[in-house]
Symmetry: none
Subunit: 195 residues, 4 copies
Amino acid sequence: MSINDKREEIVRAALELIAENGFHGAPMAMIADKAGVGAGTIYRYFENKDVLIVELYKDLEERMYPVILDGYAPDEPTRERFLHLGTALLRYFIENPLDFRYLEQFHNSPYGVEHRRDKILGKKEGINVFCELFEDGISQQMMKDLPLVILFALAFGPLLSVARDHILGFVILDDLLITRTIEACWDGIKRQSVC
Amino acid sequence: MSINDKREEIVRAALELIAENGFHGAPMAMIADKAGVGAGTIYRYFENKDVLIVELYKDLEERMYPVILDGYAPDEPTRERFLHLGTALLRYFIENPLDFRYLEQFHNSPYGVEHRRDKILGKKEGINVFCELFEDGISQQMMKDLPLVILFALAFGPLLSVARDHILGFVILDDLLITRTIEACWDGIKRQSVC
Amino acid sequence: MSINDKREEIVRAALELIAENGFHGAPMAMIADKAGVGAGTIYRYFENKDVLIVELYKDLEERMYPVILDGYAPDEPTRERFLHLGTALLRYFIENPLDFRYLEQFHNSPYGVEHRRDKILGKKEGINVFCELFEDGISQQMMKDLPLVILFALAFGPLLSVARDHILGFVILDDLLITRTIEACWDGIKRQSVC
Amino acid sequence: MSINDKREEIVRAALELIAENGFHGAPMAMIADKAGVGAGTIYRYFENKDVLIVELYKDLEERMYPVILDGYAPDEPTRERFLHLGTALLRYFIENPLDFRYLEQFHNSPYGVEHRRDKILGKKEGINVFCELFEDGISQQMMKDLPLVILFALAFGPLLSVARDHILGFVILDDLLITRTIEACWDGIKRQSVC
DNA sequence: GATGAATGAGCGTTCATTCAT
DNA sequence: CATGAATGAACGCTCATTCAT
């Protein structure tokens, strides 16, 4: 087993246990066990549990972004770009339920809140595609003129709910439902034409 | 202090501590302390911590519903009914941040998932106003013909996100923003007219 | 067992184990075991191990002082007062070897150094009998005109060594040897008359 | 780096870390790091940590003795020989605070007690200069007729205390104070003439 | 019924030691 | 030989729960 395999095993085990049981349902010893390493070994790769949790998140982001941005064309119309990103995100969550549940655990925790705060207050560089897209949308008067934070909520709030419900088995999303859901999200953020 | 006052104190203390610090940031001893009762006393009212957590949720729901339904007229048009409920819900969250944060903690935990599963699979009686509203909306062809679960996500997903962001201080919702946000949610679920 | 008995048991057990094995040779679990209490119980009486160690020291001082000062007459001549204190101290150590070994462990540790620093820098009120005695001795020109710290070393350095050697069995101190040793300490600090 | 350099580096690193942080504040990995060797390498030179600690002590003794004995003339009068040794020792401690603090750590630990026991019970060869000096002093009736162990305590007890206080900054020893301190030690052990 | 002292399993973490490379 | 990644027993400490008072 190469050195990176060991780190990889720890990451996989931690992700799975935390995704399934939450942070407190995933003791370090259990993670070590599942990863097939000694308890102390984790600490060679991660300073402590908090660091492990944050690193796990960063790893996840790095795995996720390229997948979501695959095929993304910044010169397409706003609507198409939104549909692309929304669909890609939702698909990613559905196809990687552990990643999704981990993200939820993370965001609903002091780690996540802190991270979010840093991001919104501009301390951290996130992926800007989303911001750019929404800023474009607003300036082109395609989207409602609402604070960015609210547009994000309108666009991604349903998406997260729907992903969770799919993963928990409360609904089964097929390609059509995915498309229609993302289109509905678009309806939520787009400036409504007067008929 | 009457017997119910004691229970009330425990509930209040637990709600506050859990809302602020999460489930593991609220040890039973600390709850007892804050409630002004002995640690063992909690166990007279709640079999164990898990039960306390679930009961807390039920209490919260019971406190919440009448407030949300206050002024609700089942014979108004679908759109108005939706706007009423959405606005009432969002306002409630903003005005009762502890309740909101508790709800989030609860939903993002095994308790919440279990509870949700029971509800959706019909084991539990929730308030049916929401269901009725959406079923009406669909049958009147006012709303998109999507699974109820997805409509719920479209309607309430953004609402929860926005409430959280307000409570965390990432955005400040005034009356106008609240109205516009709920209207945007309506745009998400309503069947779009072809122009 | 009364409430104070329990604290007393913990103190006794901790003192004995630390005296015999040092701080690291006395895990909390072992102390609890020896005291006949649960591991968590110690933490009801002492915030953590550090606090336990310092409290143990304070307890010990409080037990020790009255014994040493018993029969002490501040109006006796300096020499007699010194002999009284020195003898009493040495006797106490010999008769309470656990106390003595604990004191040694304490003084030879960051706790002790800190404590000593505070005392010397005047932050803490110790028993002043010793200071008074030495200051008297200097001003009466009975003792050598050396810094107090050095006089203390001359007076008590040998005393501690001798007590340790007795306890470890390297010498057996009887009344006569005790007297002669303390007298020798007095020779060390007293201003030598020119013959 | 020759093989002995490596051992030397380990010894130096261990001495420094243990002197500054105590035995438990000096993990093997940290020692290895500071010595610039692999953690496993230490075990090529020292069977385990305990052995390292004892070897360290022996090394230290071997470094110390020649320095202390430098200029020592066995044919000088007893008093002068004592003053020489005492002064040399005190100076050595002051000039080599790491060595001194290591010695203190060592003596105040099971290792030190064991070592001392072996020495006193004759299992180990120490330097005999001290013994010879004191035996001479007794037989010449220059020194008090006390057990050797007690004479040692009277002579070196204050010396260690004073060295520690200097190193901790509680007193600053200059040449004059050193001389006067050692002379005071001599007063403690010398047979007092009747005036 | 109410209490809160007592419990001990379980947590996150450290570190002396080993052994494959 | 030298290495340093890996180990796992052992540590200090927390907290849900119990039960004598």
